[in-house]
């Protein structure tokens, strides 16, 4: 794991100095993060990287994970889809299962820290245990158009927190508590984002039997309907009419996502007649993801809904040209025609990919701008800063705070 000093070469000494300055103001406060999975998915990834750095800055931070059975995670997957606006019915049984697991976790977890930071809806009911301490709820999901019945149910818990945190302005809701805008981040020194040699990259391509004879279009994502892998295959087919290329669809599963296998089967079915489509179900292997991104000519993120879409920042950090849907937090990461290309349809995405494949200088400039934008706004050091400020804000209600 890198040390905080290791980031100086990337963001500069003064940024790290500022982190130390504000971290000092949290002296004596214990902070507990709670989420629903220790591995897989962006939340676990960020917490894994961030907590050691926070501790190095002398912020007393701990992380705990709630427990739940298959039924519970099936319900929370349904919640996830409903919050993204998918049509489905929320039943009384779903609510019972959710509340019953919530009660069990309330009994088994110690939430006596000064600040309890709860991530996503799965552990949301823990706030019933609040006892004079500060509680912050972090929503990593795109809730710009949530199922109203579910939102009303969750809202009664959300408003018991001191504040809520969302990833994009369009996710903000009418709430009686404060709402902060904090984008997630990537770690430039993690296995997923650190520099790799061309030998390392070639080795990974050989491992997955991906030849380097044609331009590579890549989408790295879980096999999830909201990431629209079938739509990406359609984009590829439209591009392939004019530019001979390969498509890589690569991703893993998360322990709280039971729907993934079904989506993967559909993707395999759609791809089976084309040898230039490489569908890679990968175990958690960040170096491999990194190598695939670095080997790509164009990276695509054609999500239908997106909590934030950190794979976009990962690609931009590698100075890759990116075509991505104009949803969730993606427009924060890409300014259209400046640091990437935004799209709203399969046809639009295909047009953008063709444009980039046919204009390598333009593609290079977009990638270069994108990298600087990520350096300024989406690295873990900015994220740590925002979290510390959010913790401090729980003790300061003013708009101008003299520390």
């Amino acid at each position: 794991m890198p040390y905080i000093e290791d980031y100086i070469s990337i963001v500069g000494q003064s940024v790290i100095d500022d982190l130390r300055l504000i971290a000092e103001k949290l002296k004596g406060k214990k902070i507990l993060h709670i989420n629903s999975t220790a591995v897989g998915g962006g939340v676990a990834e960020i917490l894994n990287r961030m907590n050691p750095l926070l501790r190095e800055l002398n912020v007393d931070t701990r992380w705990d994970v709630i427990r739940g059975g298959e039924k519970f995670f099936n319900v929370t997957k349904k919640f996830h889809n409903l919050l993204h606006g998918k049509q489905d019915e929320l039943t009384d049984e779903d609510i019972d299962i959710f509340l019953s697991t919530g009660k069990e976790n309330q009994l088994n977890m110690d939430t006596s820290s000064d600040i309890v930071y709860v991530h996503d809806p799965q552990p949301i009911t823990l706030v019933e245990k609040r006892n004079g301490n500060k509680w912050l709820w972090r929503c990593h999901v795109d809730v710009s158009n949530p199922n109203q019945k579910l939102w009303s149910f969750l809202k009664q818990y959300i408003e018991r927190y001191d504040a809520a945190v969302f990833s994009a302005p369009s996710f903000s809701q009418t709430l009686s508590i404060r709402q902060y805008l904090i984008s997630p981040s990537i770690d430039p020194l993690s296995d997923k984002n650190k520099d790799l040699s061309s030998e390392e990259i070639s080795k990974v391509l050989e491992h997955y039997q991906v030849p380097v004879d044609k331009p590579l279009i890549t989408q790295i994502s879980r096999f999830d309907r909201l990431k629209d892998p079938l739509g990406v295959i359609e984009v590829y087919k439209l591009v392939k009419r004019y530019v001979d290329c390969r498509l890589i669809l690569a991703g893993g599963g998360a322990s709280d996502d039971p729907e993934g296998a079904q989506v993967l089967a559909e993707v395999n079915q759609a791809a089976k007649e084309d040898k230039d489509i490489h569908v890679l179900l990968m175990p958690q292997n960040d170096i491999h993801i990194n190598a695939l991104q670095r080997a790509s000519t164009v990276i695509i993120q054609k999500s239908i809904k997106e909590g934030f879409g950190l794979t976009v920042s990962e690609a931009l950090w590698k100075a890759k040209p990116v075509v991505a849907s104009n949803v969730g937090g993606i427009p924060l990461q890409i300014t259209h025609r400046y640091s990437g290309l935004l799209c709203r349809s399969i046809e639009g995405a295909a047009f953008a990919v063709k444009q980039l494949l046919n204009s390598p200088n333009y593609a290079k400039q977009l990638g270069k701008n994108g990298k600087e934008h990520v350096r300024n706004n989406f690295l873990i050091t900015r994220h740590i800063r925002d979290y510390i400020l959010a913790f401090l804000s729980l003790y300061n209600k003013e708009h101008i705070v003299n520390l």
Binding site: D17, Q173, Y180, N377, L403
Partner: protein, 223 residues
């Protein structure tokens, strides 16, 4: 090396970090935008007139306020976008007066172009009102000479430069930027103080601004 004058009034560099707080308020057309601009907090006006400076801090200067960008690129009202973008923020010494100017600019435009009220944004492109919470913290840097001042300008974060040039003057309503005020007060060097005050910081990226400041101070030391 030429010795520089020492003052008994040290300049303490502060830094300013900000957290964005969402209001849940959103506008889909120009009339809603104007009504909400009238109602929201000063922190909100400040956020939307200064956010661009920080987000694109190393790159080319972007339209200096979110209102101009949204009106231009989402509603397609490029003339109003241009008028809002060219509001000379440096001429305003309070958020209150800046807000009035923005409202007046939109009102005048609507009066002359009533059809503008009929343009709506897509649902996913509404204007979301956000407030800026500022955390102001003293840094370890304190200087008593212009030479040390120049050296320290190279070391501090751009957040620190941002605070002393933009926030302190406009949001804390100090009338002048902190650097000019100190140079005038501590050294009586009105020429140097004025040349910093005359900079239009809104047309520079923050890194360019840092370079420019160092250059102006270094040249003054040589004289």
């Amino acid at each position: 090396m030429k010795k520089t004058k020492k003052t008994v009034k040290p300049f303490v560099f502060y830094t300013r970090l900000h957290l964005s707080q969402m209001t849940g308020l959103r506008a889909a057309n120009i009339s809603q935008l104007m009504e909400l601009i009238k109602q929201v907090s000063g922190s909100c006006i400040y956020h939307h007139t200064h956010r661009f400076l920080q987000i694109h801090q190393y790159l080319s200067p972007e339209p200096p306020n979110d209102f101009a960008y949204w009106v231009n690129y989402v509603l397609g009202e490029d003339e109003l976008g241009e008028r809002l973008a060219s509001i000379d923020t440096v001429q305003f010494s309070s958020i209150r007066s800046l807000r009035e100017k923005i409202i007046q600019t939109i009102e005048n435009y609507i009066e002359n172009n009533p059809l503008a009220k009929l343009r709506f944004s897509r649902k996913d492109e509404e204007f979301h009102f956000i407030e800026s919470i500022s955390f102001i913290i003293p840094t370890k840097y304190s200087v008593t000479t212009l030479r040390d001042f120049s050296r320290t300008l190279k070391k501090v974060t751009i957040d620190s430069i941002y605070f002393h040039i933009f926030e302190s003057r406009l949001r804390l309503e100090k009338q002048n930027n902190d650097f000019s005020a100190w140079i005038d007060d501590a050294f009586g060097n009105k020429i140097l103080a004025d040349s910093i005050a005359r900079l239009d910081p809104y047309t520079h990226t923050l890194e360019d601004l840092r370079k420019k400041l160092i250059n102006i101070v270094d040249n003054a030391i040589k004289k």
